[in-house]
Amino acid sequence: MHNKTVSELKKYLEEKKISSVELTQHFINRIKAIDSQLNSFISLTEEYAITQAKKIDLEISKGKIRPLAGIPLAQKDIFCTKGLKTTCGSKMLENFISPYNATVVEKLNDAGMVIIGKTNMDEFAMGSSNETSYFGDVKNPWNTEYVPGGSSGGSAASVAARLIPCSTGTDTGGSIRQPASLTGVCGIKPTYGRVSRYGMIAFASSLDQGGVFTRTAEDCAILLTHISGYDPKDSTSSRKDVPDYEKECKQKFTSMTIGIPIEFLDGLDDTVKEVFEESIKVLEKNGCKFKKISLKSSRLGVSAYQVVAPAECSSNLSRFDGVRFGHRADNTKNIDELYKKSRSEGFGQEVKRRILIGTYALSAGYYDAYYLKAQKIRKVISNEFAEAFKEVDLILGPTTPDCAFKIGEKSNDPIAMYLSDVFTVSTNLAGLPAMSLPMGFKNHLPLGLQIIGNHFDEAKILSLAHHYQQITDWHTKKPKLSGD
């Protein structure tokens, strides 16, 4: 069952070949047996899941079949789930039980999905390796000495290990695509504003976007349709119509012109380059035309990102002060102490570091040189993409400059960590949609192919991805895990 795609499971459930309770129990058991090796879950919502599954089975027996009825799902622990713990990977929210559902959660619940657990993540979504979680590192299922990527490490690893057929994630600088690449699964970050951010604990509000992890592009498309759409509770969400992405991506593939940014290949690791060029060859043989383009300011994306994201997060995280919810320090003599102790105890090192940088970048005298400058660089990068999309339908490149690294290898070198985001951050800055899908291996560790589209061109991206997956089989490879 756990090797079946969402699409296949849908049929099984509809045809009553398996019940939702059985399917749910299957995955719960699997998680209990295997996840101790990966630590991809922060909480397992077994009781809740079985209750939901029973409801779904009852509905199905009466002939009411919701679009994703009974499909098990893992929610990244950044999405508020009503009545369930939502920790954001932090001690600050260790015991926080959300009083309401995020819109993404509400939508997938309405579609009939069953939440089996909340996945592990870098604390407050700040990280690229899932090594900053208060609840411990997540391990890469392909080699448990290696990182799965971050911040949505748990969501990616659990799908890669077939502990769950699909999961949600969030992407601010690459936090869906990068772990998808390092764990060999599909991960899509939609256009900014495509998916509601209501109930998705904010890291950097102008960059955050919710998305999904699956093993196939087709599954990605199915889920994307359900999480997308205008939300009156999110002023930054778009009113653009939501197409049936599944239908769109399965349309007969005609030709596409695809741009390859020369900057992305500059100084690229030999193996990664080889694997990438192999993908190009396959696509070229199958209806795609390639064109070299230049995104000369994309290298500045990391610098701009390291200002905008911390600046916004330094403000977004001010609400965590121990007064109304979350961790509160004991025995504080005055309000200042209450704030400082609660926050210092509740936040980890990386979060503190980013809050400090962000506070600095916004402070008097530095605002113009840092924050304002970064927002200008953002415009430059956006303009370059806009120019490029006048000539090409999509842009292709490797998702990450290399495969997964060992746990602990980069945790003392934040700069090296930040630089590994170089291919992903510019799309967040420009608000563009992008997806990562498996394209090969280096040292038995997965590598990801990134497809970037113009605003609201998710259908084109998924179409290419689906097409690629008809002519390659990287997405079918499975990691070996003990007890599997």
Partner: protein
């Protein structure tokens, strides 16, 4: 960026930095700022800053009361409540 700045910023951000952590933080922050300084390699004098990726305008909500009293739900797991008030150490203005 120096020790004094760090102390000032950490006070603004209400985060305690212990004396033995200041050096570490200073080093990493300096490194990050070096990375950030690369932005200056591009002239942006005639560029308008971009605060939102899409050119959307703010939607307006009708002036209707749409929330009810959920105080009990919000205060459920909070030990520092008294008679519906949030309680903090005494503040002297």
């Amino acid at each position: 960026m120096n020790k004094e700045t760090i102390i000032k910023i950490s006070d603004l951000a209400k985060i305690d930095i212990k004396d033995d952590q200041i050096d570490d933080i200073l080093t990493s922050l300096e490194k990050i700022l070096n990375l950030v300084d690369e932005m200056n390699s591009v002239n942006t004098d005639n560029v308008t800053p971009m605060s939102h990726p899409l050119n959307l305008k703010q939607e307006l909500r009708k002036d209707i009361v749409g929330a009810s009293d959920e105080r009990e739900l919000f205060q459920k797991n909070n030990k520092h409540i008294d008679n519906g008030y949030y309680i903090v150490p005494k503040i002297i203005d």
